[in-house]
Symmetry: C2
Amino acid sequence: MAYELHYWPTIQGRGEFVRLALEAAGAPYVDVARGRVSQGQGMAAMQQYLQDESMPRPPFAAPFLVDGKLAVAQTAAILLYLGPRLSLVGKSEADRLWTHQIQLTIADLVTEVHDTHHPVGTSLYYEDQKPEARRRAQDLLKNRVPKFLAWFEAILQRNPRNAGKDVPHLVGARLSYADLSLFQLVEGLCYAFPKGAGRALKMAPQVLALHAGVQRNRPVAAYLASERRIPFNEQGIFRRYPELDR
Amino acid sequence: MAYELHYWPTIQGRGEFVRLALEAAGAPYVDVARGRVSQGQGMAAMQQYLQDESMPRPPFAAPFLVDGKLAVAQTAAILLYLGPRLSLVGKSEADRLWTHQIQLTIADLVTEVHDTHHPVGTSLYYEDQKPEARRRAQDLLKNRVPKFLAWFEAILQRNPRNAGKDVPHLVGARLSYADLSLFQLVEGLCYAFPKGAGRALKMAPQVLALHAGVQRNRPVAAYLASERRIPFNEQGIFRRYPELDR
């Protein structure tokens, strides 16, 4: 049976990390909120899960994945669940924990990126917190992005299985969901902050090599060229506000 | 062999979620950075892990747990690892995922609480972002804390194993690491925002009952009364700045 992914239908957002894993693995899935109401899909089908008071284990928020009777929310937990099923994680407990740990660190930076346009409150509009957003973005690009990229670069350099390879991987010698997520993080940073992130990425050649490798991965490339890939826009996490990119 | 917990020695911070799990289970552990330099402990021992360039899988940040050859960072990943070993999670994959999903949701709110005193940048002082902090805290207390507490309350109410019980649990009928973390979240909220969080908690009687139950748990109570429990202070995540509590 196809996996059901439930996420906001007009943005990449956090759902994109799950979409990329499903697409890279060629797994059958339905992007429910983007589907047709006549087929029981669309936004209403997603909202039902969030509002159904009889559901014993309701998601706090989208994205969530429905696989038969199981519903799993939280991007990193979804990938923890999907990893072994999609062969996007190693077999040992140590590899699985390490992959998850990297994913959680990527998620931390994603949250910090979101905070650049919502530093004062997620319930307020960007237009109502522009000066604060400028300060926060400056801190992100000057301090935080370089710090995170340095760590990703270090772990790619220290992975012994990357020696002599053109395309490095974060864990072991095979593609993992963390590689896909780091690709997406780089994509998002380059969209939102072409100047600031471009500067920081010059110091992270292994991260760029990973990004290029994932981009050439056949199912990923086919997905990126398809209509299933929603373009970046200013409703998602990675927003191009030139005033924030310095 | 005793677990090694590595975390900043003068604050509860994110390390406290791990300390509570180790303490509740009566597990042998060393709080490394609080230990004696003469015994190879102290801050230098922790910093060595963060700076050792020969380490193939280095932590991005504290807290991290060392168990023999394995080092695991990211609070939620540490608890994912410890859960089964400390009997603080159910046996089924569904229970483990659900417990982890709750933990990640608690972690999200912890990050939002941290952002109330650092809305513009983690690299800046609180004193340099006070007006922004007031706006962010107002949004947190008005919108975010009630939303999260409503979800915790709902999942406690919907857990069929809580029917007729004085002390509810988040997952199944036994204490899990998520219960301990929700206890700590409530403790922190009540310390930082006695007015604002107190108001919100009135709407969450099951959450309060869980908090009271964990507080009475014998090993937890012994820990809370000991010197091992660092008091809350204004260097941690939960800070009492009366100007933010409205």
